[in-house]
Symmetry: C2
Subunit: 430 residues, 2 copies
């Protein structure tokens, strides 16, 4: 196995200089990656996958080092769990790389090429963004996913994972460099920041000359801080306070099935329902059975006074409940007069992530789709479908709750932009 | 003629509060505008146009006030020219409103609606951005154009024009409010800042809770400052250093025609060629005739040493010439070895605006299109075509040299975003 270049070493004092060095290398390689052909990019992805597979032992050892240090530091069990690279997770990482290799390459695609009265043909070509900086928590599997998505979309990447995962990430970085080199692509196309110094994040978000976009993942506080301080555009996902609204004209069976799934299929995901809105005319019909089903599954219900009149076991919801992302088996429930009240509630308390209406009424379905301003709006489907794979986009790097540039699940396309192409035969403007 | 509400008055001390008041009103109306139907928006545009037409005298009087104050202040003739609303410019403004009314409404358009294996249908719906803030120079005709584009794309708008145009802009604001009211739309859908206090700009770019995007127009210094200080996304156009590269395999006739047009059709526009690159193998063939044609039209040539060997009358180009946007009858000319050298020059000195190659060589044309990273890349066509109308997009609010969100001419589509819509029949995720 050829030896890749060693991981750059750094000292705490010169973090800014180190980050600028990484940035400069990323910028320099970004032009090469932008014009890399699909075959080379896919070869690199396959070579990375193969190298991770071959170097499972070294990766496991690095990961044990992280886990040991994390346990010694008293890291919470949930964080240690995320940090762990089990054999199954390594398998999933490898399979993820192959999946991204199989996705169509968006770069260079030309659409809408049409003739204009002047004689020129005008179209749009999809192009990489340039250099993508990703800041994420201590989940080493994200390193491989993010590198693969950015590489396939023709971007150079600077990855800054959580400091607890440094050893695991550096082990993965070695495989990534190796894969790039094997495919004849610049090894600096994906760089993994080799310092745990927190000032690296501050430096990374303030280098518009080297980094074109920042994608932060992690807690709301971190993302808000990065958004506030970044000198470059940020694709961000703040939080998901998702609603299901059961309309008076809902099919009770669909309502039951979808509401239950939206809450209980998984609790810790951003597209999980956090608030159930029920039209008052259907509440007596639907809530008793649904409430029992939630309680059977151990979901704590917090209701408005009229909900509690129907579901006496529900706790009292406070104002704070309406805009809380529980990420837990807790659900707030509110009775609303009608569609307008539901839309108002969502506009006021929602997070513009994913909201669904359950109804058989054509006009209300149409209004909900148009008037609810969220990254995903649904009719008669579980909010849990808001996901790059379920939407057919392939893997996602996050779900954007912004409106600008990319909205909803961000996959290869969200990591690209378009430019105009003009094909002429000597046309001039008169 | 019904009387519209009066223009809000303000004092310099409470500019921040005043801007927040405008912002709050814009945010409140943005939801109404987002769901306004096409007919109402078009009625408003027609009513604005009719009111401007009826109130030509009052508008001319306001404009005379601005011109008089500007002249007294010693404003440059070029600025006074831009400030003037001649009858022809008022005609053009009215025609512009009608043209925007005739453009297809992008809002609510659903594309790519496809069935997924789970049974759900997933598509994308085009939606307004929300509240658009526009900061522009003292050109009152921009007030009507910008208001119309934002209105048609379903956005609420806060317009801050140059202080020298305050009277003219307030006269137009009255017609815009009137038109909105006539169509049953909220009069606050378009608000024109009624103060010349410069701190209004600083306040406007730092209200993410009220303003979703800022579009600055004007000098490079202003745009750079706004980009640096804005707390919301900025769609910006910095400058246009556009290139035409005459490849060795160019058809000399097309090269002559296109290069001449790209420079001389208009000098002051951002898509005008500023640097001509010529492959050394064709320079002797093409440059003598082309140089003479430029000089005949009064274009000052500044060449590299090898250019000056062919065109002895050309001045000597300095390093600074290669990245200067002259906006004047001046052209820098450089001989390059080949396509690679041309692409390198453009990458180094260009502004990612618009660049063209003149060639009959298929592979080089294809490489230029792919490898030059500008908002418009062209083969055998004049850079002057980089324009919303010429591209068939309708009117444009600017030409973005950013990669993020909108690139190239920004028209209705650039003022919108997309959300995902999911249509189901009770599907749940397993």
């Amino acid at each position: 196995m050829p030896q890749s270049e060693s991981v750059p070493e750094t000292q705490s004092g010169d973090i800014a200089a180190y980050m600028r060095e990484l940035g400069g290398r990323a910028r320099a390689t970004s032009r090469v990656l932008a014009r890399a052909d699909t075959t080379a990019k896919n070869q690199a992805l396959a070579a990375i996958a193969a190298d991770i597979d071959r170097r499972r032992d070294a990766l496991a050892e690095a990961n044990r080092g992280d886990l040991g240090a994390g346990a010694a530091k008293g890291l919470e069990p949930a964080l240690l769990d995320r940090l762990e690279l089990t054999p199954a997770r390594v398998d999933a990482m490898i399979e993820g790389l192959h999946q991204i290799a199989r996705l169509p390459d968006p770069v260079g695609t030309i659409t809408d090429l049409t003739y204009r009265p002047s004689g020129i043909q005008v179209g749009r070509m999809r192009v990489p963004l340039g250099v993508v900086g990703i800041i994420y928590e201590s989940r080493p599997n994200v390193t491989a996913d993010a590198a693969a998505l950015c590489l396939k979309s023709g971007n150079a990447t600077v990855l800054r994972g959580g400091s607890e995962a440094l050893r695991s990430n550096q082990a993965l970085a070695r495989s990534i460099r190796y894969g790039l080199e094997q495919a004849g692509l610049p090894a600096d196309g994906v760089q993994v920041v080799a310092t745990t110094d927190r000032s690296a994040v501050g430096a990374m978000i303030a280098m518009p000359e080297f980094v074109d976009v920042i994608i932060p993942r992690g807690g709301k506080g971190l993302i808000e801080r990065i958004s506030r301080e970044a000198r470059v555009p940020v694709i961000k996902h703040l939080h998901g306070v998702c609603h299901v609204y059961i309309d008076a004209a809902a099919d009770p069976e669909k309502a039951f099935k979808v509401a239950l799934n939206a809450k209980t299929q998984r609790y810790g995901t951003c597209n999980t329902m956090e608030t159930l809105l029920v039209a008052e005319d259907i509440a007596e019909t639907i809530l008793p059975q649904l409430g029992a089903a939630f309680q059977e599954r151990g979901v704590e219900l917090r209701g408005c006074p009229r909900t509690r009149a129907i579901l006496p076991d529900a706790l009292e919801a406070t104002e704070a409940d309406w805009d809380t992302e529980y990420l837990a088996p807790i659900l707030s429930v509110r009775l609303v007069a009608d569609l307008d009240a539901a839309i108002e509630h969502i506009a006021r308390y929602g997070s513009q992530h994913t909201d669904a209406i359950i109804t058989e009424d054509y006009s209300r379905a149409r209004r909900f789709l148009r008037e609810v301003d969220s990254s995903s709006v649904m009719v008669n489907a579980s909010t849990r479908f808001a996901d790059g794979f379920e939407y057919g986009l392939g893997a996602e790097i996050g779900i954007s709750t912004d409106k600008f540039h990319a909205r909803g699940p961000v996959s290869l396309e969200g990591l690209t932009s378009v430019k105009f192409v003009v094909l002429g035969d000597g046309e001039i403007r008169s």
